[in-house]
């Protein structure tokens, strides 16, 4: 079985998770092990099988287009780590 290829540093960047070098080493080994196990799915021929995204598919679910109660601004901001003037405060994004 071919060893799956991955770059842990790049994956952690995609996942937006800062890892310590120790974490990278440990996770790398564990992911290699898990991906090796997952390789067994390649034993099956699935070329003519439709994928299942949901076991009980519900299509085009809508609700009546009516104004309903929603969270107040105050409630929505209640757990914010940084807020001011009814807004979430984040680090500067645009240069």
């Amino acid at each position: 079985m071919a060893e799956p290829q991955f770059n842990i540093h790049y994956l952690a960047h995609l996942a937006r998770i800062a890892l310590t070098p120790d974490e990278e080493t440990k996770l790398s080994a564990q992911l290699g092990n898990i991906l090796g196990y997952i390789e067994k799915l390649k034993e099956l021929n699935v070329s003519n099988v439709e994928p299942t995204a949901h076991a009980v598919p519900m299509i085009n679910v809508t609700r009546p287009d009516e104004v309903r109660e929603s969270l107040s601004c105050e409630d929505a901001l209640r757990n914010a780590p940084a807020k001011a003037n009814g807004l979430f405060i984040v680090p500067k994004i645009v240069e």
Binding site: A12, I34, L44, A55, V56, R78, N79, F88, V90
Partner: protein, 487 residues
């Protein structure tokens, strides 16, 4: 002790004014004070709020309003730390939510409250429901009430342990790959995962959206049926909930299983199946057969691929769902020089090892160049697994298996080997992939040490009535569910 009674016993006494709701709640709080230092089923518990809810119920009963007829009147129900309860903390067993306080009630919580329940406590869990042992919690491990050196199962280990230890009358958990049924088995209580779509997930913090369901833990099948009946139903706020009417689950428990056909999947007789678990399940099958059920061997040929399929689909969905924990709108923020650094630092500091492992695995299987080879292939295998079950249900009414391959293992035994931990879910995972319903109930004990063994019944989509009827008939003819740990 009132905390040792069942829902039906307590609601009868309460309606007859023999006891008060305050006395019921107080007996649970007393038990928590007495044993939870050892078990740690709860992350926190707002005693004053629970007692205030009880006083409100007592006032309603005294004023003579019709509320004494409500199915969960005065019943203290504990909640897994993944469900929103207005004005109570919500942490998902993680550091990343900081001091989060829920601004609203989950739909199931609204339903329990309007049925008269006293919703209280935050039950410990594996972080974001990722785990099978409740060792992955930022708030410490929960211990099995039958043997505190062992795990209670997971991820809803706190809910299962709380019911087993008599710290509440029933509890809610969530089940993505076995997180209700496996801890129910390992703690010797009843745990039910409803069919996908049966119960609204509004207010449940999402782990894997195509697999997650909320379900009850109870001391017996009849109590589980009562709670399920209250929780179920369509909800406009969860577009995956189905509009099917909710049957009378309690009314389905008529004790008659004569002529029902039960399937034993030959693929579940694996090498890793513990001998005592096997013999308890064999004996349970004999009991069911003596009650008039017809038992046949069936085949679920893609069983061996379920764990691999699950760990692709569940991690892929988790990597998307957990993107919202980025330190912007809620939770604990770790600062950085720019927004990307802030995201990375927040998530690096806030997530535990198992969550990092799964989010990164999920990111990989969805990433450019690997999507078809992993995620799409897993979705195709999921179809094969689902078809196995639908085919089996053309000839049988329910499927009988062990819930877990072994009884509760030692704390620390599998925590350094994620793959071995994943394989402990081997019998419960397929049910979520297929979207069917499943229940675990006590069917015996290992000898030394004495640890509970669970019997799993799997049913057709929306076949909860049949499932509960079989479970109830079994329970009426055995005494396993009456055993309680000595604490």
């Amino acid at each position: 002790m009132l905390n040792q009674l069942t829902i039906s016993e307590l609601t009868t006494k309460l309606a007859g004014r023999e006891i008060s709701a305050r006395e019921i709640v107080q007996s649970c709080l007393d038990q928590i004070a007495r044993v939870d230092g050892k078990i740690h089923a709860f992350i926190s518990c707002d005693n004053q709020d629970a007692l205030a809810q009880a006083d409100f119920v007592d006032k309603q009963i005294t004023s003579g309003s019709a509320c004494a007829q409500k199915p969960l009147m005065g019943i203290p129900i504990a909640v897994k730390d993944v469900l929103a309860v207005r004005n109570q903390p919500l942490n998902c067993g993680s550091k990343i939510l900081g001091k989060f306080i829920s601004p609203y009630d989950a739909t199931v919580i609204e339903k329990l409250k309007s049925a008269g329940a006293i919703v209280f406590g935050r039950c410990n869990m594996d972080e974001f429901a990722m785990g099978s042992s409740t060792e992955n919690s930022a708030f410490g491990v929960t211990r099995n009430p039958w043997d505190p050196t062992r795990i209670p199962g997971g991820s809803s280990g706190g809910s299962a342990a709380a019911v087993a230890a008599g710290e509440c009358i029933a509890a809610l958990g969530s089940d993505t790959g076995g997180s209700i049924r496996q801890p129910a088995a390992l703690c010797g209580v009843v745990g039910l995962k409803p069919t996908y779509g049966r119960v609204s997930r509004y207010g449940l913090v999402a782990f894997a959206s195509s697999l997650d369901q909320i379900g009850p833990f109870a001391k017996n099948v009849s109590d589980a049926a009562t709670v399920l009946g209250v929780m179920s139903g369509h909800d406009l706020r969860d577009s995956t909930s189905v509009p099917h009417p909710v049957p009378d689950y309690s009314g389905a428990l008529n004790g008659n299983i004569r002529g029902l056909k039960l399937g034993l999947p030959r693929e579940y007789m694996i090498g890793g199946l513990n001998a005592e678990v096997k013999s308890a399940v064999d004996a349970a099958v004999k009991t069911l057969s003596a009650l008039g059920a017809e038992v046949v061997e069936i085949s679920l040929p893609h069983t061996d691929y379920a764990v691999a399929t699950y760990y692709i689909i569940a991690t892929a969905e988790a990597s998307a769902n957990l993107a919202r924990f980025d330190g912007v709108r809620y939770g604990a923020r770790a600062e950085g020089n720019d927004v990307l650094e802030m995201y990375g630092n927040t998530r690096g500091a806030g997530f535990g090892a198992e969550v990092k492992r799964r989010v990164i695995l999920g990111t990989y299987v969805l990433s450019s160049g690997y999507y078809d080879a992993y995620y799409l292939r897993a979705q195709r295998v999921r179809t094969l697994i689902r078809n196995d079950f639908l085919r089996a249900f053309e000839t049988v009414d329910a499927i009988v298996t062990p819930t877990a391959p072994t009884a509760a293992f030692k704390i620390g035994e599998k925590s350094d080997d994620p793959l071995q931990m994943y394989l402990s879910d081997i019998f419960t995972i397929s049910c979520n992939l297929a979207g069917i319903c499943g229940v675990s109930l006590p069917c015996g004990f290992t000898r030394n040490p004495q640890l509970p063994i669970g019997l799993q019944l799997l049913g057709k989509p929306f076949g909860e009535e049949t499932l509960l009827r079989i479970a109830h008939a079994f329970e009426q003819n055995t005494a396993w569910h009456e055993k309680r740990p000595l604490l």
